[in-house]
Amino acid sequence: MTRSTLGGAVLRGTVSTALMASLMSAPALAAPPVDLSKWSPEYVRSIAGTQDFDTAADCGKVTPLDYKGRLTFWYQGVFEGDPDLLRQYYKDFFETFRKTYPNIQLEEQALTYNDLLDKFRTALLGNAAPMAVRLQILGGTEFASKGYLQPLKPEDVGYSTEDFWPGAMKAVTWDGVTYGIPTNNETMAFIWNADVFKRAGLDPNKPPATWDDVVKYSKQIHDKLGIAGYGLVARKNAGNTPYRFMPQLWAYGGGVFDEAAANPTYKDIELNSAQSKAALQASYDMYVRDKSVPVSALTNQQADNQPLFLAGQLGMMISHPSDYNVMLDLQKKATGTDKDKAQTVIDNMRYGLIPTGPDGKRAVVFGGSNIHILKPEYVEGGKVDEPAAKAIICMWTSPEWSLKMAYAGSNPGNLNGFKTKWMKERLDSIKFLDVTTSMLPYGIPFPALPQSPEIMNIIVPDMMQNALTGAMTVDQAADDAAKKVKDLMGGGL
C-alpha cells in the first residue's frame, strides 16, 4: 500500500471517530487502557511494547495455580484457511495452560467456524454442552437470549470492561447483562495483486477507492487478462459470505436493519432499501453482467479464493492480514515453476482499506470471538467447574494470549494486548498488519440479536444466490430476503 493512500486513510480514520462512537458504550468512554480516539497505525506502533504483563500471576489471583478440577471446553479452532503460525500458537496455549494449571484436567475440542454453531446447538438440546465455549461473535446473543449462558463479565476474571473494545462488549450483552468476554476482534482489509493490476492497465499501487471502482476494475482485469477480477464469495452457511458482502451493503448505505447507525434499534428492515439493492446490484453486475468474478463463487468460500490468488488467477479479495502468511505457507508447498509464480504473487501482494460506497462511507464487519460459561443444567454431568472455567478464560483473554492467539489473523480482544512486546514483534513481522488495524474504527458489529446467525448465514447468502443465479431479479431477491427477515423477527414458522 502506498504511504499517501495510507496517510489519507489514517486521516479519514481519525475523522471517523463519530462512527467509532457507535462501538462505544458509556462505561467504555470512562478509562480504556488505550486512547481509542487516537487510533491509527502510528498510535498502535507507539503503544506497542510499552507494558509487561505476568499472565500466570494475574490468573493465579482469579483461580489459584494449584487448583484441582476438571474442565470441558469447546472452541472455534484453526481451519484449513489459517496459517501454520496460528496452529503453533494454539498448541502453545494449551501446553502453557496445562503447565500453569497442572491439576486442572482439561478436555478441549476444536471445531471449525462452520460446524461449531450446529454442534453446540445440538449438544445443548441434549444437555451435553461443554462447561465453557469460545464462539464466533455472531453466536453469543442467541445462546444468551435462550438462557443457556451464565452471566460473565471481564471483572469476573480479573479485568475491567474498559479493557475490551466497546463494540465487542455489545456483542456479549443481552438485555443489559454481560454473558461473555471477547477473545479477539478483527477487521479485514482489501488485498490486491499489483502485478495483475499493472498488466490490466491499472495503477498497481492504487486500490479501488469505491465499490463502483471494484466493479470496474474487476471487469477490466477479466477483459484484459481473462482471469477473475474480484474474489466474490456467496456460499450459503459459510461465515465468509456475510464478512465480505456486509461491508459492501453498509458502504452503499444499506443494511439488514439500522445496525450501521450509531445507536441501532434493529426495528426497521432495510434489506430491500434502494441502497441495499444498489449493493446487491454491484454483485450482480460482477457475476452476471460482466462475468468478472469466479463462477464458483456460489459454492466457494475464502479458503478456495486463496489458492486462486496465489496462482495469479484472482486480482482482488477481502481478507485478514493472515492471508499473507497463508500465501507464504502455500508457496512453501508449491513445486517447480508454480513456486516461482507464487513468489511473484507474494511480492506483488498489497493491502489497502476496504473501498467506500458512493457517499464515501467505509465499513467492515467488526468480527471476532467471545468466550462463555454454560449453566450447569445444560452441561454433561450437570456440573460446571467455575474456577477451572475462569482459569482458562482469564488466560485466553489476557493481554498476552489474546494477542498471541490472534497473532496473524486478528487483534487482541483485550486492548492491553496492544501494549505488549508481542504486539511490537508482530508489527515488525506480520506484513500489512497496520492496514487491518486501521480498519478497526470502521468496524460494524453484526446485529446483537438471536436471529443474527440465520440472517447472516442463510438469508443474506440466499438473497445473493437468488439474484446471481437469475432465480429472481435483484429487486425480487432483496424483497424476498426482507420478507424472510420480517417473518423471522415476527416469530414465524
Binding site: L125, K146, P294, N466, L493
Partner: protein
C-alpha cells in the same frame, strides 16, 4: 414307566387357554433372544419417532429454548404444504430419487449382464467397478466438487483445451445444471450396488432353461426377455426399492457439494430438513417434514417387505 420326550414335555408345560398365548409360550425362547434388540430399537427408534411427531405440532422460534416451544397444532404442516420451497424441494427430491434409482439400476444391470459372461480380466474389472461404492461418500463428494469446479475443474479444463468451449461449463453453480450434475455423482457411486445385487440374481437363473431355450431356437434377446428377466423380477424389485429408500434419504453428496444451493436448486428433503433444524432451529417445521418423509419411506418399506415375502413364498412353493 412312561418316557416323556422333549416335545411332549414342552406341550405338557404349556398353559391351558387360547392358542395365541400358547404359541407365545411355545416361542418364549425366541422372544427372549430378540428382546434386547427390541429394547434398543424402542430407545433409539420408537422414542425419536414419537418425539418427532410431538415436535411437529410446535413452533420453535430461534429466541426460545426447545422446552419453551409453542403449540401450533397443524400449522407446521399447513405452512409446509403451502410454501413454494416445499414444492421446489419435493420436485428436486423426486427428480433426484427417480433419476438416481432408475439410471443406477439400468447401468448396474447392464454391468452385471456383461460381467456374468466368462472372459479374461473379468475379476479385475468387477473389482474396479466396485470401487465407487466402497469409497467414502464424503471423500468422493469433495473429489467430484473439484472435478466439477466451475473455474478450475478438470472436465472444464479438458473441454477448453480441446477447443470445445471457450469457458469451462458451469456444473454446480447453475440452477439448471446442478441437480443433474449431482445425480451423475450419485449414479457413479450407486450403480455398483445394483450390479452386485443383479450379479447375485443372475446366479439363480437355471442354466438348463437357457440351454433349452437356445435349443428351441430362441435368440439372445428372447432368452433374456423370456428366461433371464422373469427370474430376476424379484431381485430387481428389491434392488430398486433399496436404491429408492437410500436416495430418498441421501444427504452426503448434495450437502457437501452444494449445501442445497445455489438458490435451493439442489435441496432435497433430507438436506432441507437438516438446514431447517440445525441451521435455522425450526425444529417444529423440520419435524413435520420428517413425519411426512417417514410416511413416504414407510410406504416404500411396505412394498420392500412385500417383495421379500413374495420371494419367500415363491421359494417355499418351489
Amino acid at each position: 414307566m412312561t418316557i416323556v420326550t422333549g416335545n411332549e414335555a414342552r406341550r405338557r408345560a404349556q398353559p391351558a387357554g387360547s392358542s395365541v398365548p400358547r404359541k407365545i409360550w411355545e416361542h418364549r425362547a425366541d422372544y427372549a433372544y430378540v428382546l434386547p434388540a427390541i429394547a434398543v430399537m424402542l430407545i433409539v427408534i420408537a422414542y425419536p419417532i414419537y418425539y418427532t411427531i410431538e415436535l411437529s405440532f410446535f413452533n420453535t422460534p430461534p429466541g426460545l429454548q426447545l422446552r419453551d416451544k409453542i403449540f401450533v397444532g397443524f400449522n407446521n404442516y399447513t405452512a409446509i404444504l403451502t410454501s413454494d420451497v416445499f414444492w421446489q424441494v419435493t420436485f428436486n427430491t423426486l427428480i433426484w430419487t427417480i433419476g438416481s434409482t432408475l439410471i443406477s439400476f439400468v447401468l448396474g444391470f447392464a454391468a452385471a449382464l456383461a460381467l456374468h459372461r466368462d472372459f479374461i480380466g473379468r475379476g479385475i474389472l468387477r473389482a474396479i467397478l466396485i470401487i465407487p461404492w466402497v469409497i467414502s461418500a464424503v471423500a468422493a463428494s469433495y473429489i467430484w466438487k473439484w472435478i466439477y469446479h466451475s473455474d478450475f475443474g478438470i472436465i472444464g479444463a479438458v473441454l477448453v483445451e480441446l477447443g470445445l468451449t471457450s469457458r469451462p461449463p458451469n456444473f454446480i453453480d447453475n440452477v439448471s445444471t446442478v441437480l443433474p450434475s449431482l445425480i451423475v455423482v450419485n449414479i457413479w457411486r450407486e450403480f455398483p450396488f445394483a450390479m452386485i445385487m443383479m450379479m447375485a440374481g443372475l446366479q439363480t437363473v437355471p442354466e438348463q432353461l437357457l440351454r433349452a431355450a437356445k435349443v428351441d431356437g430362441a435368440n439372445a434377446w428372447q432368452r433374456f426377455w423370456h428366461v433371464t428377466f422373469p427370474h430376476l423380477r424379484n431381485v430387481s424389485t428389491v434392488t430398486i426399492l433399496l436404491l429408492a429408500v437410500a436416495n430418498f434419504n441421501s444427504f452426503i453428496i448434495p450437502w457437501i457439494m452444494t449445501g442445497g444451493g445455489p438458490s435451493n436448486a439442489s435441496h432435497i428433503w433430507i438436506t432441507h430438513i437438516y438446514e431447517l433444524a440445525f441451521g435455522r432451529q425450526r425444529w417444529g417445521v423440520a419435524s413435520a417434514y420428517s413425519v411426512l418423509l417417514f410416511l413416504i419411506l414407510m410406504t416404500l418399506g411396505y412394498f420392500y417387505v412385500r417383495a421379500l415375502s413374495g420371494n419367500e413364498r415363491k421359494e417355499g412353493n418351489a
